[in-house]
Subunit: 425 residues, 2 copies
Amino acid sequence: MNLTSLLERWYQKVPFPFFLLKWLLISLPIGVLVGIAAAIFLWALHFATDWREGHLWIVALLPLGGFFVGLAYHYYGKEVEAGNNLIIDQIHSPKKIIRFRMAPMVLLGTVMTHLFGGSAGREGTAIQIGASISDQFTKWLKLSKRDRRIVLIAGMAAGFGAVFGTPLAGAIFGMEVFLLGKMRYDAIIPAFLAAAFGDFVCRYVSHEYLYIHHSVYNVTGDPNHIIPIDHILYAVIAGVCFGLAARLFARLTHWWGGVLRERVKYPPFRPLLGGALVAGLFGILYFGVGEDIGTRYMGLGLPTIKAAFTTQLAPYDWAGKLLFTALTLGAAYKGGEVTPLFFIGAALGNALSMILPLDMELLAAMGFVGVFAGAANTPLACAVMGLELFGTNYGVYIAIGCVVSFMFSGHAGIYSSQVIGMSKH
Amino acid sequence: MNLTSLLERWYQKVPFPFFLLKWLLISLPIGVLVGIAAAIFLWALHFATDWREGHLWIVALLPLGGFFVGLAYHYYGKEVEAGNNLIIDQIHSPKKIIRFRMAPMVLLGTVMTHLFGGSAGREGTAIQIGASISDQFTKWLKLSKRDRRIVLIAGMAAGFGAVFGTPLAGAIFGMEVFLLGKMRYDAIIPAFLAAAFGDFVCRYVSHEYLYIHHSVYNVTGDPNHIIPIDHILYAVIAGVCFGLAARLFARLTHWWGGVLRERVKYPPFRPLLGGALVAGLFGILYFGVGEDIGTRYMGLGLPTIKAAFTTQLAPYDWAGKLLFTALTLGAAYKGGEVTPLFFIGAALGNALSMILPLDMELLAAMGFVGVFAGAANTPLACAVMGLELFGTNYGVYIAIGCVVSFMFSGHAGIYSSQVIGMSKH
């Protein structure tokens, strides 16, 4: 008996080791490549944000920046323009390998958005980098349709886990995002491995070579705290608010995108127009109300997110960020939704601490992941992200905030290609 | 327009608030009642364990104790004897309300097992208490089939969350356990709420009235630790070992149960025979080898579980516990599998620390939840339980241990009614 047929017989009898080895060998390079790309992305964002803060006049050029990115996508990126939705579509009905150019285009496009002061996030970019890199393995390794699904999920998991430094949330997000109300476990090993590898490589490259770090949020809580029943009810009320904010955000973004698509026929003009509106609003706030509030709703908004845990923000800050982000992303600027959703949620939680008798840091933490849970319809990934970022002392509050928000955000989230696997009620 | 038709119209337009309110009102009493029952159960276990440790001669009566519990189930408990599997069956194809007597019978039966020195756990009991209490609401509230499924899941979540003090793991366990390889979200709100309520009430009653506490495990880890790639590979190797141990445990328990069912026609004689074997083995170890090792594999084994995090155990301890537990549970003694699985896993992790270059406390923590993840086919619940019990510093290792163990444990876990929703490979 030769070696091949011996292996064949082994594989028939005990397929597990082969399955594990195969996915280890595929997840490792995916994790390494996506982790490196994520580190470069984070560094570029850091650089773009710093530069903008020192040269605020560049916001006046936001419409032009959007126009050029729109031109690039119109002429070179039609196939990859659908972004996150394209990936979700391919998971549901695999057709065509995602072109590698999605990764550099979305990376550069997102950096442009942030350099010129649009309000956007990172997760869409991370997912697109992850999926377009990982899908190249489909081609090289001639993978089956089923394996391609798994590879795409692993790529998304690696991208998400690496960019936010939350590998467990990344893995669950990859498994959870494409199907609303159901989760399938066929990608569980590749998703967790790729996310772990991606997170390690991104951290290593960021710390050792690029000198940047993930944001750390100081949330303490009391480990011996027993959560009384009335607090659980307050957490439910907060969850309802987060879910409604998520619904408002998704609706406003979709509505504004629809208006622009209907009224403006030439696609690159849409970000031109949308960018003019964002830049104009910025100008009105900056010169008319105050420099601080003018800059507060641009870019990622990390300083305000951090502040939401410790100081009382303005009660309308969540709405301001929601408006700026919906206007930016609805006009087809590149970037993710999630960091603005962190902002909206943390600021909304901060505002709710004026009404609800829960700690400010707790409500900020709940909102941080809660609005995202509702908007993306990924309650478990967000609950686990809450544990990864804020520790376990507040775990019950955070999880209840996420699942209630998920229930109240409706069936149309930020990813319109998401398939409804089960009605929410 | 009268009030009913107004409410009807609201419900048609915005069903979410009604859904939330309904399940809040149902989850709250479920959580309270299950939490109280869980506290009484934990107190009784504590008492039984203490008493046995002071009166070891009672182990000689283990066969008789098992015989009487067997008699009680044979004549009064036929309908509830299938235990966990009955609940899982009812979730898949709802037929008959689970009788309330399941709760007191399994509670007393499990306390008997522990009083007489059998090796068993708590989660089966917790789940059965939870589901049989919650299913009474099906009757009282005349719930639909779909709502009954949700009520059963919420009851299991509350029982599991309360007994182990891990509400998030309890909620996910309830959603995860009945279907292998898939998760549906229709019970997500009731599961999290009931688990949170159950955990709170159980903690409150335990601390304030019964003066007992959940076990706390000292696992520290370094929050700034970046997990290198080779460590991820060691975690994979450990996960393979945990999965194989889980497979061995499930097979041995099923095999021994099958032998007894085939050879011994009168059911109450089965625990009589099985108990005689366990008591005999105990006697041989206790008088022949050493008093310490004789008592080590009885009951829950909490002291050894705690020791696994800090001191080197004997490398065969996991196998000893596995054997004693399979013999006890295969012979139809009442009790759960999970605490012995914690023991088997923590001791196996402890033993692996002699070979693998990972910390002992880390490997013990990984095994604690990892073997359980494989045996129950609930990788996400176990990963989250690991976060709840051991904090997030080791989260990636723990999650990888759980998912790899899940992959290697095969399709036949400890719950034979579990439906395979998706093949593992």
